[in-house]
Structures are given as structure tokens and as C-alpha cells.
Symmetry: C2
Subunit: 341 residues, 2 copies
DNA sequence: ATTTTTTTCGAAAACGTTTTCGATTTTGCC
DNA sequence: GGCAAAATCGAAAACGTTTTCGAAAAAAAT
């Protein structure tokens, strides 16, 4: 049993391929009678257009590419979820690739997607990545492109982000509202934009509240790990600077801090309050439950796809296109680790 | 600047399209001289074959489909990782879809992938799914197909699984080895095969050690959540049956148990030891660190792709194919929650 | 009955590649 | 130089669809 094709249907009905095609696509210039005959036979033979041929002819694949550093992160899996769901709703499928934070891999994967002729690319940059040649090649070829989360401001494309500065300010403000006087910041790596912005937000919040910035209260992660959190917690206790609140770059590290404080019998939040970032699953099941900043990951995915769709439509219709940036609202989730009694 | 094509190169060099194609694909019947000229010009024009045309001609897309219930789970993201990496290594890309445990969605997605004419499909079934028409349509069309993790034994296809019964036995044996005498089991939902198998493994381990099975020590989850764990922990303490060890269906629930024990000042593991399943991220960062069963998720992904590849090659060469099942080894990760002093 | 308009259809080109098979050219050999 | 063998090339079909444009048929108008 061979695959049903337009030709097959045309032959059986004694009409031309053209007419069959038009009948199935509801062109106005085909009579009701033949249209009925065609659709009936198509149904019977389970005809579905050969997508390879359609792709070739229409020069689009209804497929987009997605490159992210790692799915394992709760945040990313939320975004992926949103992208896939929204894409599906609009008739697109998504090819997913992981750069594993390797610039080398990221470059190869961009090339792969371009060769596959995806209709567009959504991407969250790996840590070392910037406005490199592989990104430029996407823009030069005018392949619709949107960045999310880990973006580079140097790259002129649509973006969907959260306002990290604002979110960080709110987190620190929350600590201050809870009565913290001496607030430390465990910041992320040097490069990533969100690491920088959260640091800036931390400083701004201090300034706004008339608290002098003290660089000795800033601890820079060498890696984003549980162990890193444990180490800094140890260091903070040893230094005994009178810190009573900590804003941590992300939940995983914050959980390390909590673990060490638990072990040493430090009262959280009464002695030291801790707030993390990203609302990882673990933050809800740890003791004490960790306060954090919730990023609307699913909504970011939805927004990212819709920005991409906009550009895909513009490019197709040869209309001028200008990149947009949408910033989504974050929310402070206050849990046990900051709610002093 | 148009896209470079074979025709473009052929025209510029004054040779035929055929020869250009052959030169680029290292056919033996083209002279060194022309091959050099062709490759040089191809390089210069950044020629890459139009994959739409290649797909149409070769009838394959070098793309596979992947349907999973949800990426959010740590375990699934590990598998996805393995599948994508191994696929990439072999020149395949993967289209990912999520059924969100909905049979309805799952059916649509299978249809989507078939229409896209992916070269093969890897799938972990949603909870209600079984040997339904949509799965049969995959097999009928002889589309290479492999199931992993949440499988149906009724479906004759390659599978990659872990031996849940054995793994559960080992977990319970570990509790016994640690000196536990009265071991409870918090089991999963009724339907899923792995829930059933782990329960069977629990019973077998008891039997092997001459411990009578007591059905009142088995607690059935209504949902796989942290809160469910808290509830059962509460119930276990209230009932005060002298339970000194608990084997829990999965880490998330086990963490709920630990949280409640912590709150009530129960000594884990000395009063009650707890072991989970799946080695979620959270199990390593909780206090006390949770003992668990590690499933080699990445390796499962690799194995799944390789089984698929085998079938894809067989089908292509019209050779007979027979489905295989590979079962991967699990490992007990003994951490603080079971290591009595 | 003739012309005009409208409706309905189909031929053919195009998308860009792969591959078969026959034709042509070159080389090797006596 | 003549012939066989080997090396090199290209015409053409095929994959299955979409779409343009002109032709034929039917309907309407004169």
C-alpha cells in the first residue's frame, strides 16, 4: 500500500493534479461537485500532503529551532513548555538543542538549524556567548530570531526578559522591610547579564534606603552550585560581620546557605534572613521554606514564540520589521526564610 | 544575494548539475581537477544543500520525534538530554512535544509527527495511554518506534526501561541491611507499571528476608506531591505502629516525609530511615540528605536513540527487524537518611 | 444564433536535489 | 595507429506539491 498522493487521487478521478490540489485547498475555481468527490476520496485514502514537497515548494518548514543552555533547570523547562505549547497552537513544531553552556556547541547548533532551514530560532545564550559570528549569520540571513532570559544587549533582535534589576531591588527591599540592616549579596558569575543586573538592583535598593554599599558584603560565585552556597555560608559565619540578610543569585546556591546555617544552628530568618531567585522546586520543600523571586517561565515561552511569529510573518510578507523587547513581571514569594516573627 | 544552489555552481563552472552534485558527494567518477574547482566554489558561495529538496528526494528528514509527559521532571530532562545529544552525534535533530499526561494531546501529537514524516518516534506514554489506535498507526506505517520508562507491554516495539522490581528490592534490602525491622511502603498511583513493579519489589524483598508482608504498612498516593508525603508522615506518627524504615515511591514524596519528621523532631535515620526513588536534585540538598535509587536517565536517552537508529537502518535497508528491550542498571545512593550511626 | 461574461479546468513550470544509464573522452596496450 | 578498457561527464527522470495563466465549457446577455 503506497502513500496517497495528489496524482493518485487525480488519476482515480480522471481529473488533473491541479484541480485536486485546488479542491483540497478550497480554491474558488473548482465546482462543488468535484470538490466533494476529491475530499471524499482523499478522506478514504487517508491523504496527507507530503510535507517534504510542501516545504520545498513553499520554502518554509513550519518548524522552529530552540537552543537553551540546559533543560534540567526548572526555569528552562517552564519556558520550553510555553514555547512548545504556543508553537503547537500556531501550527509549528520545535526542534530543541542544548548547548550545555558550551560556546563551541552553540555555534555548531546554530549552523545545524540554519542548514535545516528552520523558519526561526529562539535562543538563550550560553554564558560565554556574545555577539559572535554565529549570531550575526542568523541576522544577516534575516532568519527570524528572538533571545530570552540570557540575552546580549549587543544583538539587535527581539527579546523577552524579566527586569532583573527591578526584581533584585524588590527582593532586597523585602529584606529591608523585614528589618534587615546589614544585607549581603551572593552574586553570580561575572559575565551573564542577569548576574550583573541583579547586582545593580541590589545596590540600587541599598541606595534607595540610605544604606551605604559595602563591597566586602558581596560574594562572587565561581560556580552556581549547592556547595558554593555552603562555602559562602561558612565564610560569612567565620567573618562574623553582623550580616542579618542575604540576597542570593539563585535558589540552588541559597539552599546551600540554608543547609549550612541549619547545621550550625543559625536561626533563619531571625538571625539571618535569606532570599533566593527563580522559585526552583526545591525552594518549596526545603526547611525553612525559601523566599524567592518567581519568574513567569511559561509566559516567557509564550511571549518568545509570539515575538518570533510576528517576525516570521513580517519577513514573509516582506514588510519592514523592528525588534521588540518585552519584559515580564516577577513576583516576590515570601516564605519562611524571610518572614521574621 | 540569492541562495547558492547546485545550478548556480554548475553555471559558473560551465559544467552540469550532475557533476557538481557528484563532486560534492565524493562520487568516484569525477576528476580531481573538477572536484577541486567545485569544492572551492562551493566553499566560496557558502553552499549548503537545500534540505527541503534533499528530504523530498531521499524521503527522509534526519529528524525524529520525541513525546514525553513533562520535561519538568528531573528524570525526563536527563533522558531528553541523552536523546538529543546522541541524535546530534548521529546527524539527527529532535522535535520535542509534551503530552502533559493528556491522552487527547498525545494522539494529536502522534498525528503531527507522522504528517511531518519524522524518521522515527521515541515516546514515554502518558498515564492513561495504552495500546490505542494512535500507537497502532505508528506500527502499521512501520515508522521506527521505541518506548522508554513509561511503557506498555502490550505494544510490540523496542523499549528501554529500568528493572523497577529489582531496584525496589535493592532499596528495601538496603533498609533491612541498615537494621530496619518494620518497613513501610508509600506506593504510587494504581495504574503506572513502575508503581506496580516497585510495590512487587517491596514485597519480594520482605519475603526474601523472612519478614511477613503487612498490607497495613502500605500507603497509596493519591497524587505524587510533597504534601502527600507530609500527610503520610503525619499519619504514620499518629498510628505509632513502630515503623522504623520507609521505602517511598519517589523523592518528592519522600522529601515531604522528611520535612514532617524534621518538624516533629523525629531522628532520621536512627528512629526511622527513609529511602526515595529517582535521585531528584532535591534529594542531595535536603537535610538530612536523602538516600535514593539512581536511574541512569542520560544513558536511557542514549540507549533509546540507539535502538531507534537500529530500526531506522533496518527499515531503510528493507531488512527484517525485531524489537529489543534493554534494561539499565540502577544504583542505590546511600545518604544520610538511611545511614544509621 | 451570436457574443459576452462567468465558471471550471489543466498544462506546465518551478522548488533543488539525487541517481541511473548511456555517451563521450581519455588512457593503456599491442 | 588501432582497439579495448577505464575514466569522466551529462541528459533526464523522479520526488510531490503549489501556482500562474491560458483554454475550454457553461451560463448569461444581446
Amino acid at each position: 500500500m503506497r502513500e496517497a498522493t495528489l496524482k493518485e487521487i487525480a488519476n482515480r478521478l480522471g481529473i488533473s493534479i491541479t484541480t485536486v490540489s485546488k479542491a483540497l485547498k478550497n480554491y474558488p475555481d473548482v465546482s462543488d461537485k468535484t470538490r466533494k468527490a476529491v475530499t471524499a476520496l482523499a478522506e478514504e485514502l487517508h491523504f496527507t500532503p507530503n510535507s517534504f514537497a510542501v516545504n520545498l515548494r513553499t520554502k518554509e518548514s513550519k518548524t522552529i529551532g530552540l537552543i537553551i543552555p540546559e533543560v534540567v533547570h526548572h526555569f528552562f523547562s517552564g519556558v520550553v513548555n510555553g514555547i512548545i505549547a504556543e508553537a503547537e497552537k500556531n501550527g509549528y513544531l520545535v526542534i530543541m538543542l542544548q548547548s550545555n553552556e558550551s560556546l563551541e556547541l552553540e555555534k555548531k547548533q546554530v549552523a545545524l538549524l540554519i542548514n535545516k532551514r528552520v523558519d526561526g530560532i529562539i535562543m538563550s545564550l550560553s554564558n560565554e556567548s556574545n555577539n559572535d559570528a554565529h549570531i550575526k549569520s542568523i541576522l544577516e540571513k534575516e532568519i527570524p530570531f528572538v533571545q530570552f532570559d540570557k540575552i546580549s544587549k549587543l544583538i539587535p533582535s527581539s527579546k523577552v526578559i524579566i527586569d532583573d534589576q527591578k526584581a533584585a531591588m524588590e527582593a532586597v527591599q523585602h529584606l529591608i522591610d523585614m528589618g534587615c540592616k546589614k544585607i549581603a549579596h551572593i552574586r553570580g558569575l561575572d559575565n551573564p547579564q542577569n548576574s550583573i543586573d541583579r547586582f545593580i538592583g541590589y545596590k540600587k535598593a541599598l541606595e534607595k534606603n540610605g544604606i551605604p554599599f559595602d563591597s566586602s558584603l558581596v560574594y562572587s560565585c565561581k560556580s552556581i552550585t549547592f556547595e558554593q552556597g555552603v562555602e559562602f555560608a561558612k565564610q560569612i559565619l567565620e567573618e562574623d560581620k553582623g550580616i542579618d540578610g542575604i540576597f542570593v543569585i539563585t535558589d540552588l546556591v541559597a539552599v546551600g546557605v540554608l543547609a549550612h546555617f541549619n547545621e550550625k544552628g543559625i536561626q533563619v530568618p531571625n538571625q539571618i534572613a535569606v532570599i533566593g531567585f527563580s522559585n526552583w522546586l526545591v525552594s518549596q520543600v526545603i526547611t525553612p521554606k525559601l523566599s524567592t523571586v518567581d519568574q513567569p517561565s511559561y509566559e516567557m515561552g509564550v511571549a518568545a514564540f509570539n515575538l518570533l511569529l510576528e517576525e516570521m510573518i513580517c519577513r514573509k510578507e516582506q514588510k519592514p520589521f523592528e525588534a521588540k523587547t518585552v519584559a515580564l513581571e516577577t513576583a516576590i514569594i515570601a516564605r519562611e526564610s524571610t518572614l521574621k516573627k
